[in-house]
Symmetry: C2
Subunit: 102 residues, 2 copies
Amino acid sequence: MSRTLAKVDYSEEEIRQAEIAKALGHPLRIKIIKLLSIQSCCCTGDLTAVFPLAQSTISQHLKVLKDAGLIQGNIEPPSVKYCLHEKNWPAAKQSFRQLFED
Amino acid sequence: MSRTLAKVDYSEEEIRQAEIAKALGHPLRIKIIKLLSIQSCCCTGDLTAVFPLAQSTISQHLKVLKDAGLIQGNIEPPSVKYCLHEKNWPAAKQSFRQLFED
DNA sequence: AATGTTCATCGCAAATATACGATATTTTTT
DNA sequence: AAAAAATATCGTATATTTGCGATGAACATT
């Protein structure tokens, strides 16, 4: 990896689609996205209450989704409310739907 | 990982969606899927001609897609023709579209 | 039988992902 | 100012992914 000399030329969109897919490539992150689709927002605490996983683990998964731009965290003391990213999520859906077109 | 004691209870569908996403989580595999969507079939040789990657590397990516059930390889001497998986690919699309519903 | 073609698999090295507990940070409440 | 609550981040261990070259297996051609 990155021992590669030649480079494959990927389009921006292909790279983005792979990024999105990678971020969704874990069942917990699928669950989180589904949850946010339904109830619009939740905070880390909500998730630690539901899942038998360390708080740090959940936080890390949230970070993956956040780094991929799929969710956004709005600080709302005393907690952080996570929502699907206002702009990026619709864009991600759009970009991804192309792959799944008939 | 798998050092975990407690288990999160994921539905079959969530697991499947994550599997699919994971398999698509690399730009080369996105490119391959796109290619197969357009031209229906190709063999490893076609891909090694197009991408500046070792034949073994490409074969490995094909294996990831095959293991995820997204493509199928039909032996057609002297080469192997890869296509989107007749049954699984439509099912995968369907399963995945749910995530991207409005 | 020997050679060539096409593809898969093995073995390796480096990078990344996953999970955890411990600790740091930030803000609220006492 | 001190304590509590909610998250993020760090450090660590293990597993998985990604890439390569080398080798193996299957079949066709010479």
